[in-house]
């Protein structure tokens, strides 16, 4: 459209009277930037419209002036004190006003409220989810701890049952080995199955050996010591320690030896001894 077509199109009158749609406003503003004569025509028309507006002017009640001057003076004081809060009022510069059906405005207000509500709920639920997540993780770790403890106890229980079964065996013979003279408080017991010939050792009271030492059990057969194995101290929860089996023995004794055991007992390190029959 050239300049003269714009001028006769009625767009200028629609613009000035507030009738133009937002598309028409854009179109005309582009033409105003492009053609000085269109801009001049719009200005002339606008001046006349403003004259019509001024014809309908009327003095406002005097108190309004007082109120306004008071309000802006207060605002300036607040601004100087730094207590002024910027309002979010923007002067509307769009000339076209789109009439919105009130039902739509209610719907928009409701939608905004719903959105705000939803944002608030999101915030609350997000906090709750984090809270629950934390609690869930705490529960999960507690549950894992309990499960592993439970496994541990079950293993110990099984061990104990196993031990008790050994004790319960009617052919089991207990050989009490009290402390020798240098170690009067020491005490250990040998459980010797007379049928299977298995030997188990219970350390009732033996002082903890040094790191490079181990207790060794001996059987005295025909006056001679026979190695029955060393006492493994790693598994301290075990009540009975399985030793080597033996057919016959007159006595049992325990000496403290170097780690791994010795071929012959160190007699001055004999802690306990007891007769088998």
């Amino acid at each position: 459209m050239d300049a003269s077509r714009f001028i006769s199109s009625g767009l200028i009158e629609a613009y000035v009277s507030g009738l133009a749609t937002s598309n028409e406003i854009e179109e005309l503003e582009r033409a105003m930037a492009q053609y000085p004569e269109v801009r001049a025509a719009v200005n002339d028309c606008q001046l006349d419209m403003e004259q019509y507006i001024i014809l309908q002017a009327k003095p406002a009640p005097a108190f309004i002036r007082q109120n306004l001057l008071q309000t802006i003076a207060d605002e300036e004081t607040a601004r100087e004190n730094g207590t002024y809060v910027e309002t979010s009022e923007f002067p509307e510069e769009t000339k076209q006003t789109v009439y919105v059906n009130s039902a739509w405005r209610w719907a928009a207000a409701a939608a905004i409220l719903l959105l705000l509500g939803s944002v608030a709920m999101n915030y609350i639920f997000f906090g709750q989810i984090n809270d629950y997540k934390g609690r869930y993780e705490a529960l999960l770790s507690a549950q894992n701890t309990l499960a592993s403890e439970s496994n541990l106890y079950r293993a110990r229980m099984e061990q104990m049952e196993h031990t008790i079964n050994i004790f319960k065996d009617p052919s089991m013979k207990a050989v009490r080995m009290p402390g020798t003279k240098p170690f009067p408080t020491a005490l250990a017991t040998v459980y010797w199955n007379q049928q299977s010939k298995e030997v188990f050792l219970m350390a009732n009271n033996l002082p903890a050996p040094a790191a490079n030492k181990q207790y060794q059990l001996w059987a005295i057969v025909d006056g001679k010591p026979v190695d029955m194995g060393v006492l493994e101290t790693t598994n301290t929860t075990e009540l009975l320690h399985k030793m080597k089996s033996i057919e016959n023995a007159e006595m049992f004794a325990i000496t403290l030896e170097k780690k791994g055991g010795s071929p012959a007992p160190t007699l001055d390190q004999m802690y306990v001894a007891g007769k088998a029959s």
Binding site: S17, D48, K58
Partner: protein, 182 residues
């Protein structure tokens, strides 16, 4: 207002942007009748128009930084703020379209203006109102003072939608011709 101080528009704008309260007083004294006239025409209620006028001037005062001299005259900018603020209030008071029609459709508007608000301009206004046809006056006022869309005007005046802009153009041309004779 008695002081013989006058400001050019650019002096006024500079003073307002510098937050000078004297310039604001001057602005109010010179422009409040025109802007109050707009609010009154839109709302048809003096108390509401007074409230809206205060809102309009606060928007001008607080928004003066956003006024760009390159985009148009100060008065045009203020008139737009006044019109939009008043029309927004009109809508928020849930005035229905039917009410707008009743207000404008009745012929009381002209006599009311003459009877209640005699002003220095009233002879000019009488002439305008005499020489514009009723339909021309109503179509201008519906668009300008009530913010009606083309669609709404077509329904109110019971005319085809396609003719609204042509009739508006003729009404404005007639108005401008009358104004030239005043």
């Amino acid at each position: 207002m008695g002081a013989a101080v006058t400001y050019t528009e650019s002096e006024l704008v500079l003073g307002l942007k510098a937050r000078n309260e004297k310039h604001f007083g001057y602005l109010y004294d010179h422009y409040s009748p025109a802007l109050y006239g707009i609010a009154l025409k839109v709302l048809n209620d003096e108390s509401m128009a007074g409230d809206v006028l205060q809102e309009i001037f606060l928007k001008i005062w607080r928004g003066i930084e956003r006024y760009d001299t390159d985009k148009g005259r100060l008065f045009t900018w203020m008139v737009n703020i006044a019109r939009n603020t008043a029309i927004d209030t009109l809508r928020s008071k849930s005035h229905k379209m039917g009410q707008k029609v009743a207000e404008l459709g009745s012929n009381t508007l002209a006599s009311e203006q003459l009877a209640i608000h005699p002003s220095v301009d009233h002879l000019g206004l009488v002439k305008v109102l005499e020489l514009l046809s009723r339909e021309q006056r109503v179509i201008i006022d519906l668009a300008y003072y009530k913010g009606c869309t083309q669609d709404e005007i077509a329904k109110i005046l019971d005319i085809p939608l396609g003719t609204v802009k042509t009739r508006m153009r003729n009404a404005i041309i007639q108005l401008r011709n009358i104004l030239k004779q005043i």
